[in-house]
C-alpha cells in the first residue's frame, strides 16, 4: 500500500457497524443502503486507483430529504462521511475510509428545470456534466465547463472539485458558471445558497463550497448558467519543432489580444499516444502541437484564424491543419479528451495537475522532462496551454512498487516546481489525498490554519471527507 496515510479508523465505529447499518436502513427506503462486502468494493476507490479503502457502508439517497436524514443520523452517531458523485476524481477525493459511510448522489440524476429566458438550469447533483449540455442543446445552448471525464463525471463532483476543462480559457471554470446550490450541512440542515439571480446577499459561501471537496456539506442540487453556443466553432492543429516555440506562440496570441475558446498543448509522446487511439490526423513529425479553437460566424473565424496563423508562422510553425467538417472536429477533440484513457492503454500513469504562469511554460516543461528522466521514467504532456494548467502524465508500471514510488516522487517534485514557478499544486483536479501532504509547499501554517478554521465553521467535528486536503499532521 501507499505512502499516503489515512487517519487510523475509529475502532468504536467499526465495532458498531451492524447498529449503524440498521440505523441507516431506518431512515432510507429499501435498496438505499449497500452493506455487502463485494458491493461495497465498487466504492473503494475512484480514478486514483492506486489507493483503496473499503467503506463501512454506502448509501444511495434519491432526494435531498433522504440525504438530510442520513446526515442527521450519522452526525448524531459521530460517523465520518465520504461524499461521492460518479467517482471519477483523479486526486482521490472520493476514496472512502474504513470507518466512513459513502453518501453517493449518483441516483439523484434528474434535470429539474431548464429556463432559457433566464439562461439557467437547475439539476440534481448526480446529473452528469454532459447531460446538462444535452438537455439544453436543442435550443442551441450548452453548459461551459467541460472536464475530459464529462461523459461520466457528475455536476456534484464538479462542484466539489471546481472542475475545469479545455474551454475554460474563454468561459471559466465551475465556480464561474455556478449560481446556486442546495446544500445539506453535516447535521442534516438543508440550505439554499444563491439561485437564479447573478449574485447573492452576505458572504459568498457559494464560492467556499465550490472546490471545497465535500468538506463543507453535500451538494444535492445546483443552479448553473447555460450559454448560447457560438454560430460555429473550428479547431485547428498547429505543429511546432519544439515545445518552446509552441509555448512562445501561445503567449504571443494572448499578448495580441486574442482569446481563443481553447488552446491545448500536446508534446510528441502525447501526440503519438492519442493519434494511435483516435486517428484524428494529428501530425506525427512535430515535437509539439497546439489545438486552437476559434468560434463565431464563418467570417469571424476566418479573421481570427488569420491573425493566429500569422503569429504561429512567426514562431516557426511547420504544420497547420484546419478541421474541414464536423466529423474532423469531433475526432480532433476525441483525441484530446481521451488522452488519459489512451495513455492508460500503453502504460499505467499518474496525472499531475499543477498550474504555472504561462510565461514559465517552457522552463517548467524542460524541468519536468529532466525530473522524470532522473527517476528513470517517461512522461507525456497534454495540457491547457492558455491558462498554464499542466497535465504531465508520468508513465510507470503499477505492479512494480519501486516504480510507483519513483513516479510519486517525480510527481511531487513537479508540483513543487509548479509552486516555485509562481503557480499552484492543482488547477482543476483538486487536492484530495494525492496532493494533501504537499499543501505545506504552497501555503504557510497561518494560511492552512485559517482555511481549517473556516472549514470548522461548517464541520466542527471533522466528519465530512476528513482525510482530504489538509495534511494530517497540520491539524490541531
Amino acid at each position: 500500500m501507499s505512502e499516503i496515510a489515512f487517519p487510523a479508523p475509529d475502532r468504536k465505529i467499526l465495532a458498531r457497524r451492524d447498529e449503524i447499518i440498521a440505523g441507516l436502513r431506518r431512515v432510507l427506503p429499501e435498496g438505499g443502503v449497500i452493506e455487502k462486502l463485494d458491493e461495497r468494493r465498487a466504492f473503494e476507490t475512484d480514478a486514483l486507483t492506486a489507493y483503496r479503502q473499503v467503506p463501512l457502508a454506502v448509501v444511495l439517497p434519491r432526494s435531498t430529504e433522504e440525504v438530510s436524514a442520513v446526515m442527521a443520523y450519522l452526525h448524531a452517531q459521530g460517523v465520518p462521511v465520504t461524499p461521492r458523485g460518479a467517482g471519477t476524481s483523479l486526486s482521490g477525493g472520493a476514496i472512502p475510509q474504513e470507518d466512513s459511510v459513502v453518501v453517493c448522489v449518483a441516483k439523484m440524476s434528474r434535470v429539474l428545470e431548464v429556463d432559457f429566458a433566464n439562461r439557467v438550469a437547475r439539476v440534481e447533483a448526480g446529473v452528469t456534466n454532459l447531460a446538462i449540455s444535452a438537455a439544453v442543446a436543442h435550443e442551441g445552448f450548452f453548459y461551459a465547463p467541460d472536464p475530459s471525464s464529462q461523459l461520466a463525471c457528475s455536476i456534484g463532483g464538479n462542484i466539489g472539485m471546481n472542475s475545469g476543462g479545455a474551454h475554460c480559457l474563454k468561459y471559466g471554470v465551475t465556480t464561474n458558471n455556478l449560481l446556486g446550490v442546495r446544500l445539506v450541512l453535516v447535521d442534516g440542515t438543508i440550505i439554499d445558497l444563491g439561485g437564479a439571480a447573478l449574485d447573492a446577499p452576505g458572504y459568498d459561501l457559494l464560492a467556499l463550497v465550490c472546490g471545497a471537496e465535500g468538506q463543507l456539506g453535500i451538494v444535492t442540487e445546483a443552479t448553473v448558467r447555460i450559454l448560447r453556443s457560438a454560430e460555429g466553432a473550428r479547431p485547428v492543429l498547429f505543429g511546432f519543432p519544439s515545445s518552446e516555440a509552441a509555448g512562445a506562440a501561445v503567449a504571443a496570441i494572448i499578448g495580441d489580444g486574442i482569446i481563443p475558446v481553447a488552446m491545448e498543448f500536446m508534446d510528441a509522446p502525447a501526440i503519438r499516444i492519442c493519434e494511435d487511439f483516435a486517428h484524428a490526423g494529428y501530425p506525427l513529425d512535430v515535437e509539439a502541437m497546439l489545438i486552437i479553437e476559434v468560434e463565431g460566424s464563418e467570417a469571424e473565424m476566418e479573421a481570427e484564424l488569420g491573425k493566429i496563423i500569422a503569429i504561429a508562422e512567426r514562431h516557426g510553425v511547420t504544420v497547420i491543419k484546419e478541421s474541414k467538417s464536423a466529423m474532423e472536429t469531433a475526432l480532433i477533440w476525441k483525441g484530446r479528451k481521451s488522452a488519459f484513457g489512451a495513455t492508460g492503454r500503453v502504460a499505467d500513469y499518474i496525472c499531475m495537475d499543477g498550474t504555472v504562469p504561462t510565461g514559465q511554460l517552457p522552463h517548467v516543461l524542460r524541468r519536468t522532462s529532466e525530473i522524470v528522466a532522473s527517476h528513470g521514467l517517461r512522461v507525456a504532456n497534454v495540457f491547457h496551454a492558455g491558462d498554464g494548467n499542466m497535465h504531465p502524465l508520468i508513465l510507470y508500471n503499477v505492479n512494480d512498487p519501486q516504480e510507483q514510488r519513483k513516479a510519486e516522487e517525480a510527481g511531487a517534485d513537479i508540483l513543487k516546481l509548479c509552486v516555485e514557478a509562481g503557480g499552484c499544486l492543482t488547477g482543476e483536479h483538486g487536492v484530495g489525498i494525492e496532493k494533501r501532504d504537499l499543501m505545506g509547499c504552497q501555503f504557510s501554517k497561518a494560511d492552512l490554519d485559517q482555511q481549517m478554521r473556516v472549514r470548522q465553521a461548517f464541520d466542527p467535528a471533522w466528519l465530512l471527507n476528513p482525510a482530504k486536503v489538509f495534511p494530517l499532521d497540520a491539524r490541531s
Binding site: 429556463d115 447573478l198 446577499p201 458572504y203 464560492a207 448560447r228 499552484c424 482555511q451 461548517f458
Partner: protein, 413 residues
C-alpha cells in the same frame, strides 16, 4: 487622495478629534494594528479611500484602518492576463496601467462617487471588498470571478494568503472569493490579484425604443440568448435619461465582428422594434451612465435600492414596488439588476422591498439612505437563520474578537 476622502468620511461618522486613523505603511504594520485592536477589543473601520463608506449598515467606530498607504502595482504580465496591486492602489492607476497594454478589468467596476456623494480615488482593494461589478457582469462575470488571489490580515493579526496569480487554481478553500463582497469584515486586504482581458477594439449599442418593461426584458433575454455575445443589456424606461423608453444591447470586440453582429442582432430582434445603432463613442458614454446609475443620482434626497433577481421576475417585482413606493427605476443585467429610487422617509421602503425581493427569490441592498435609516433598517437582505448561523461562524473563524468592521453587513457579524 486619501486625506481629502477621509474628511468626507469624518463628517458622516464621529468627530475628527476623537478618531484615530491608522495608515500602515506595510502589511506587517497592518498586522500589528489589528493584533493590538484584537487584544484590546477595539473595533476598526476598514477602508481604502472611503468612497463607498456610505454603503452598508451604518456603523460607528473610534478607530479607522486605512489601506491608503499600501499602494503600488506589484505585477502586470500582459501575456499572462494578470495584474496584482497593493490594496490601496487607486483603481484609476490600475486601469491606466492596463490601458497601456490595451487591457482592462473584465467586470467593469462601477463608480459610486456620484451616487453616494463622495470624493477621493476609489482603490482596487475597495473594488474587491465590495465585489464591485458593472454591466459586463452578464458576459464576463462579477469582480469575484476575476479575483484570483489575495493577501490579507485576519482579525487575529495574522497575514494570510489565498489563491494565486493563475486562472486555474483549486488548491485549498477559496478564501479569495470569500473576501469579495465581505466589506472588510473578514480580513483587511493588503494585496489583490486579478485576471484581466484584452480591451475590445470597438463597441456599438443597439437601441430599441418604446418597449414596456416586460417586452424589454423579453428582448434583452432574446439578445442574451443569441450567439452574438451581448456584453451589456439594460432597459431605461420612459423618463430615465430621455423622454421615451430605450432598451440597450451592447456588442464589443474586433471591428469586423462588431459590425457583423450589430446587423445580425438587429435582425434577430426585429419583431420587438426597429433598432438604432450607437457608435463606439456614444455607446461608451451611455454605458458609463448605466454603470454609475447616473440617472438616479438626483434628486439627492431619494433612497436608492439595488435589487438582484432572475431577469424574468423583474417586471412583476417592479409592478408591485413601483406603484407602492412611487419609485423610479431602470434595469441592467438583462433585467436581473433593478436600480430603484424611492422616498427616503420612514424605512425607505425596506419592508416592502425586502419582502418583494424575497418572494421573487432575489435580494435587495439599500445603497443610499440617510445614516439614521441605515442604522435602523436591514440594509442587506435578511437571510434564513441556518445561513446566518454559518455567516456568524465564518466571521468568528476569521475575526474572533469582532474587530474588523463589525456590523457593516449584518448586526452581530
Amino acid at each position: 487622495m486619501p486625506g481629502a476622502d477621509l474628511s468626507s468620511f469624518d463628517a458622516t461618522t464621529v468627530p475628527e478629534a476623537s478618531m484615530t486613523t491608522h495608515k500602515p505603511q506595510n502589511e506587517a504594520e497592518a498586522a500589528c494594528v489589528i493584533a493590538d485592536a484584537a487584544a484590546r477589543r477595539i473595533p476598526l473601520s476598514i477602508l481604502g479611500s472611503g468612497t463607498k463608506r456610505a454603503l452598508g449598515r451604518f456603523t460607528q467606530t473610534q478607530d479607522v484602518l486605512s489601506s491608503a498607504a499600501l499602494a503600488g502595482i506589484t505585477l502586470h504580465e500582459p501575456a499572462e492576463l494578470v495584474i496584482a496591486a497593493r490594496a490601496g492602489t487607486p483603481l484609476a492607476e490600475v486601469e491606466r496601467k492596463l490601458g497601456e497594454a490595451r487591457q482592462q478589468l473584465p467586470f467593469e467596476p462601477m463608480d459610486y462617487r456620484a451616487l453616494l456623494g463622495t470624493s477621493g480615488e476609489p482603490t482596487i482593494g475597495g473594488v474587491a471588498a465590495t465585489n464591485l461589478s458593472g454591466p459586463r457582469r452578464i458576459k464576463s462575470g462579477a469582480c469575484r470571478d476575476s479575483f484570483l488571489g489575495a493577501r490579507f490580515v485576519n482579525g487575529r493579526g495574522e497575514v494570510v494568503k489565498s489563491g494565486g496569480r493563475v486562472m486555474k487554481n483549486v488548491t485549498g478553500l477559496d478564501l479569495t472569493r470569500l473576501m469579495a463582497g465581505a466589506f472588510g469584515t473578514l480580513g483587511f486586504l493588503t494585496e489583490v490579484t486579478f485576471k484581466v482581458v484584452p480591451s475590445p477594439e470597438t463597441q456599438a449599442t443597439l437601441v430599441l425604443e418604446g418597449l414596456s418593461d416586460r417586452r424589454a426584458v423579453a428582448a434583452l433575454s432574446a439578445g442574451l440568448g443569441s450567439p452574438f455575445e451581448v456584453s451589456g443589456a439594460a432597459h431605461l424606461p420612459a423618463g430615465i435619461g430621455a423622454a421615451g423608453a430605450r432598451t440597450l444591447l451592447r456588442l464589443e470586440g474586433f471591428e469586423s465582428a462588431v459590425g457583423y453582429r450589430t446587423k445580425a442582432l438587429a435582425e434577430a430582434l426585429r419583431d420587438f422594434s426597429a433598432a438604432r445603432v450607437l457608435d463606439a463613442q456614444e455607446s461608451e458614454a451611455l454605458w458609463r451612465e448605466v454603470r454609475d446609475v447616473t440617472f438616479l443620482v438626483s434628486p439627492r434626497d431619494t433612497a436608492i435600492w439595488r435589487i438582484s433577481v432572475a431577469p424574468s421576475k423583474a417586471p412583476a417585482l417592479i409592478d408591485t414596488l413601483g406603484a407602492e413606493l412611487s419609485a423610479r427605476w431602470f434595469l441592467d443585467w438583462g433585467g436581473g439588476l433593478i436600480w430603484l429610487a424611492c422616498g427616503a422617509e420612514g424605512d425607505a421602503g425596506a419592508l416592502p422591498v425586502h419582502e418583494a425581493a424575497r418572494l421573487e427569490e432575489g435580494h435587495a441592498l439599500l445603497v443610499r439612505a440617510p445614516d439614521a435609516v441605515r442604522a435602523a433598517v436591514d440594509v442587506f437582505q435578511p437571510q434564513p437563520e441556518p445561513i446566518m448561523k454559518l455567516t456568524r461562524a465564518v466571521k468568528q473563524s476569521l475575526d474572533p474578537a469582532a474587530v474588523l468592521e463589525p456590523g457593516r453587513i449584518y448586526a452581530g457579524v
